[in-house]
């Protein structure tokens, strides 16, 4: 909403010297932010001049050399406009003038002195959309009687100042100068002036010849009046300039009046060429598929959720959004039917979103004050009478089921002070309501506030408290910390612990988008789920919610590879989403991707391999307390995107909670390893408290053993056999060497270092040797192993 200071001053007095920035800041303080506060024409050092002489520039085919009288001197100016000629009065920008696009300097143009610029209106800051064809293409020619040496902005009555206010969604009342006047009046404690509404009327009552029908609950108020014998012409300057200041292009007096009243009162009006309308106007819902050609010449196909205006036979306008082409006001229009109505804001919003957002629809969407609808109608006919020579036909035809009653809300000063944390007195409170022009009545400690219907945003006590806070000044309220019983705050630090663990393992944390392409959503998993697609994605690249984080991290890897980073070790904790049966849900997942070098250093470089990412997985599981409860097992079903020989499911207490493996070489030539753990699944498994275990004071004994066995036997299998055979004196067994060779053929040698110990005594060979024999026997028997000597 653009506030025009000149326009505003019609309704409320403001200090002549009040700076526009100050006004804007004061409005901001009470809750109305602004984008811009400046002069309508911000150009400086402009003066009216008369072109005394205009000759062609000797070295140019389009420039002219002019002598321009600006009162106290005659300037030499080189001008490129086609329409410049001797004898006209023009707008001159003197040296030092700051125009929107350029600062004027004295200079030489192709050898000729030029000490200023003759301006077009668009060069001083008027948007071309407001200008006539002539003004769009050349300098502005002022009337004969324009006073040389004076300020052209003042002369053109464009000496206005504007504020572009950003309104909050609830303050539809401020989409009018009148509403802004109440706001400004409350700030500076000035009363709002009345609008002139009186006008004459004549002839037969319109009710006798015209019907208003409303056949939908989506219209609560419809008023029709007729203005006869209008003269269509240019609007007076003040109307044109104010519309321009408010960002609306002037067209002709009749159309301009409908816009002027809308800006003034906030009530959009619609003017029909009455002679093309007939004797009936009806508001109803559109039939599905009904056609209507709107003002902009586009044929629209309507839906049964659109409200339309019809002449009883066919649609002639989209209520609150756009009129129809057939009944538009034209140069030849004689008689005007005026519509002032209130339509359902939600319906108008839906329709306008589909068709076009306009000044009118914006106001309908925010909701209207029905009392203002009546006022706007009277204002419109008054202006038509005055500026379009109209005769107003007696009577108005009205359909009205709107609630026009003023709300009464009870409030206590204590309520206000409790909620705001202030110490505002009864007098101060009443003073705020008086400034807002709300009527009050005090009974004991209860104030009954009568809220004017223009303030549709106020319906409960808290709304009134906000008003008091606003006008009293929220920045006058001193902040304090709540006095509440002390209590422990709680935060689950598991994610943080995992993050710190991953960081200590050398991984960089990423933060990726959860929206991915649908073709990636089932990758890297065999889990059954239905993907969740967006109804209306912004791009097809991101049309589905991810299930696994691996596609996200793989994209990040590709991005980094393309940006010259080969060593990528990254992780992320984030959500994966799914639908199963009718249930929708999300799981928190830990995902890691590793490729390139892991150890750095002169002689100790190490590329990431399966065992490194397995180590990362184990570190996390051990750290979270799942030591000895997990295993890495071959997936039951092929995981297509993984290297079939380097992939494992992570099994904790018999449940698969994650996967690790190398990405299939067909997807990535580089060795890229990934890990994903479903943290929700994992952390649901309870972990005991960390507890001290007694340390043995007796020495441990080490024994090495090497066996030759089938290549396909896994390390896990060998470990299990050793552990089972060894019993509880075995403290640890570590595989320290795996060896294959041509001589061994399809066999391999595996060497283990076994540590034995006891909490109660020093072990002797007599105790250990039989255990070693048992181990060897078990390995021979269960795994057909052969002791290597």
């Amino acid at each position: 909403m653009i506030l025009s200071k000149n326009f505003l001053k019609d309704y409320v007095d403001i200090d002549e010297n009040l700076d526009i920035k100050t006004l804007a800041e004061d409005l901001t303080r009470v809750g109305n932010e602004y984008d811009l506060a400046q002069k309508l024409i911000p150009a400086t050092k402009l003066i009216i001049g008369k072109v005394l002489e205009c000759v062609d520039h000797p070295d140019s085919d389009h420039l002219h050399c002019c002598k321009v009288d600006i009162g106290n001197e005659v300037l030499s100016i080189v001008c490129g406009a086609k329409n410049v000629r001797a004898g006209i009065k023009v707008i001159v920008a003197q040296a030092g003038a700051e125009l929107p696009e350029v600062t004027i300097k004295k200079g030489i143009i192709r050898g000729q002195e030029s000490n200023g610029m003759i301006c077009a209106l668009y060069e001083i800051g008027l948007d071309k959309k407001y200008l006539s064809e002539e003004d769009k293409n050349g300098i502005h020619i002022l009337p004969e009687n324009a006073p040389v040496g004076k300020d052209p902005i003042e002369y053109l009555k464009l000496d206005d100042e504007i504020i572009d206010i950003e309104l909050t969604a609830n303050r539809g009342d401020l989409l009018s100068m009148l509403g802004l006047a109440y706001e400004v009046g409350a700030i500076y404690d000035n009363p709002v002036k009345e609008l002139g509404l009186s006008h004459g009327e004549s002839g037969e009552d319109l009710n006798n010849s015209f019907n208003v029908k409303v056949n939908t609950e989506n219209c609560s108020l419809f008023i029709a009046r007729k203005a006869l014998n209008v003269t269509i012409k240019e609007s007076p300057d003040f109307i044109k300039n104010r519309l321009i200041a408010c960002g609306i292009r002037p067209i002709n007096n009749v159309v301009d009046i409908s816009n002027y009243v809308m800006i003034e009162c906030g009530q959009p009006l619609h003017f029909y060429d009455a002679d093309r309308l007939g004797d009936t106007i009806e508001t109803r819902m559109a039939a599905s598929g009904e056609k209507l050609t709107t003002l902009d010449g586009i044929e629209r196909t309507l839906e049964d959720t659109d409200i339309v205006i019809s002449d009883g036979k066919r649609a002639i306008g989209l209520a609150g959004v756009m009129g129809g082409l057939d009944t538009e006001i034209e140069e030849t229009t004689k008689n005007v039917l005026i519509e002032a109505a209130v339509f359902n804001s939600v319906r108008v919003r839906k329709t306008s979103k589909k068709i076009v957002r306009s000044e009118a629809s914006n106001r309908f969407e925010k909701g209207l004050d029905p009392n203002r609808t009546y006022m706007a109608m009277e204002r419109a006919v008054k202006l038509l009478e005055k500026y379009a020579d109209a005769t107003i036909q007696t009577g108005k035809v009205v359909y009205d089921v709107a609630n026009k009653e003023e709300k009464k809300i009870d409030i206590k000063v204590k309520d206000i002070n409790d909620l705001l944390g202030t110490d505002i007195s009864l007098d101060d409170t009443l003073n705020v309501f008086r400034r807002l022009a709300f009527k009050t009545e005090v009974n004991g400690d209860v104030i009954t506030v009568t809220v004017p219907t223009r303030r549709i945003d106020i319906s409960i006590k808290e709304d009134l408290i906000e008003e008091v806070g606003r006008i009293y000044g929220v920045n006058n309220i001193v902040g304090k910390l709540p006095v509440v019983p002390m209590k422990l705050g709680h935060v689950d630090k598991t994610d943080r612990e995992i993050r710190n663990k991953m960081i200590s393992l050398g991984l960089n944390e990423t933060l990726s988008y959860i929206l991915i392409n649908d073709k990636d959503v089932h990758k890297y998993t065999n889990d059954g789920f239905e993907e969740l697609r967006l109804l209306d994605p912004m791009t097809e690249e991101r049309n589905t919610l991810r299930y696994s984080l691996i596609p996200s991290l793989y994209k990040i890897y590709e991005y980094n590879k393309a940006h010259y980073t080969k060593d990528v070790c990254i992780y992320e904790i984030g959500k994966g989403f799914w639908k199963r049966e009718e249930e929708r849900g999300e799981d928190k997942k830990l995902c890691a991707l590793m490729t390139g070098e892991y150890y750095l250093g002169l002689d100790s470089k190490k590329q990431v391999d399966f065992y490194i990412i397995k180590g990362v997985a184990e570190e996390v599981l051990d750290y979270l307390g799942y030591g000895n409860r997990y295993s890495f097992v071959l997936p039951k079903q092929t995981l297509t995107e993984f290297h079939p020989g380097q992939v494992a499911e992570i099994n904790v207490n018999g449940e698969v909670v994650g996967v690790i493996g190398r990405i299939h070489p067909e997807i990535s030539k580089d060795a890229v390893y990934v890990l994903e753990i479903n943290l929700d699944k994992l952390l649901a498994k309870k972990v005991g408290k960390m507890k001290f275990k007694e340390i043995s004071i007796y020495p441990t004994v080490n024994k090495d053993i090497a066996v030759i066995l089938d290549k396909d036997i896994t390390s896990d299998e060998v470990s299990k056999v050793i552990k089972k055979a060894a019993g509880n004196l075995l403290v640890s067994s570590k595989l320290f060497d795996v060896y294959t060779s041509a001589i061994l053929g399809d066999k391999k040698s595996m060497a283990y270092s076994l540590t034995f110990g006891s909490n109660t005594k020093t072990l002797t060979d007599d105790e250990i040797n039989p255990i070693m024999e048992k181990i060897i026997e078990a390995l021979e028997k269960n795994l057909k192993a052969e002791l290597r000597k």
Binding site: G421, R499, G506, N508, T510, I514, I556, N560, L600
Partner: protein, 349 residues
């Protein structure tokens, strides 16, 4: 006899002096002092010496032996020192050469800020709660006083999955969940941090971003007022942005609070002098806040006659950008390792 011993002693000394390494010295030691050495044979042959001479000769021999032993041990010490010195010299390395280490990990700046915010509020007795990112319309809008068709829904175009389900547009959705879950309707002090989603993508908006939401509900007679909200946000912002940060409250409109305020903070780039970032106003709009709307309390089981409270929320991405001087929002989601790896150390308080 004495001369002989003297000669052995002298020869031994000469021989020791000529030795060049520890190995030779060990051999010489055997030769001079071993069972087959001259001194040993002298002692063995002591029987042939006259009875009265024996103690004297024995003493001479032992004396000589002791002397040789000392001499050898001295030489031994020198050789060992030399050997150690040589060994150390040979093991000398370039201590300025690169160390061996595992690559260094880093924490994403967004999560750093989230953790910092959590710590601030936990220290004030707030609970950190979590909520779903895939929300229902009910919790994201309806229960926050945003019924179907409400104009404020336009403010946040959303990613819907079905008519009912959408990606949460705000962490406020957790407010209703927390209130409903509290069966005893006891006071609430909570924050929620996390991802939120809106249908917009441009240089300053990402369709996925992060918010923190705070909610305090208490008995009305404890006066949980706007002044308390102001005080709380002052503490929060001064801790995050520095002690000189000022706050400016502007009345505004959110459907879930009444009254509602937007909160501006002193521009963190220019300190309030005015710069392009703050559009020369000296202020940056950073938070939304207000007193919980009685309808919201009521809809979620708290009697607005008995309880009141305040709520606030802010975007974390901008806080992170300010804190680390990140110049473009897109860095936060590009996940360029050259960006991520910069956040690899303890941050100074």
């Amino acid at each position: 006899m004495k001369e002989k011993i003297e000669e052995i002693r002298k020869n031994a000394k000469d021989m020791i002096d000529e030795i060049v390494d520890l190995q030779e010295l060990q051999e010489l030691k055997v030769k001079l002092l071993g069972k087959k050495s001259e001194l040993s044979s002298l002692l063995k042959g002591l029987g042939a010496v006259a009875q009265e001479e024996r103690p004297k000769v024995g003493a001479w021999v032992n004396e000589a032996r002791k002397e040789i032993e000392e001499k050898i041990s001295e030489a031994e010490k020198i050789f060992k020192e030399k050997a150690m010195a040589a060994k150390l010299e040979s093991e000398k390395i370039d201590i300025t050469a690169p160390s061996t280490k595992i690559i260094r990990g880093s924490k994403h700046p967004i999560n750093r800020v989230i953790e910092e915010i959590q710590d601030i509020f936990v220290s004030m007795g707030y609970d950190v709660v979590d909520g779903p990112e895939l929300e229902t319309d009910e919790f994201c809008f309806e229960r926050l006083n945003l019924p179907q068709g409400h104009p404020a829904r336009d403010m946040q175009d959303s990613f819907y999955i079905t008519d009912e389900y959408l990606l949460r547009t705000q962490t406020s959705a957790v407010q209703a969940r927390t209130m409903l879950a509290n069966e005893e309707k006891s006071p609430i002090r909570m924050i929620c941090t996390g991802k939120t989603y809106r249908r917009e993508d441009d240089a300053t908006h990402s369709h996925q971003f992060n918010q923190v939401e705070g909610l305090v509900i208490d008995y009305k007679d404890r006066n949980t007022s706007l002044a308390d909200l102001k005080g709380t946000l002052e503490v929060f912002m001064k801790k995050m942005l520095g002690p000189n940060t000022e706050l400016r409250f502007r009345p505004s409109y959110f459907p879930f609070t009444e009254p509602s305020y937007e909160v501006d903070v002193t521009c963190f780039k220019c300190g309030g002098k005015g710069c392009p970032l703050c559009k020369k106003t000296g202020w940056i709009e950073l938070l939304g806040s207000g007193m919980v709307h009685p309808r919201v309390l009521e809809m979620n089981g708290y009697d607005p006659e008995k309880y009141s409270g305040f709520a606030f929320g802010t975007g974390i991405d901008r806080l992170a950008m300010f804190k680390y001087g990140i110049t473009d929002m897109r860095y936060l989601y590009a996940n360029d390792v050259r960006f991520l790896s910069q956040f690899d150390r303890q941050d100074k308080e």
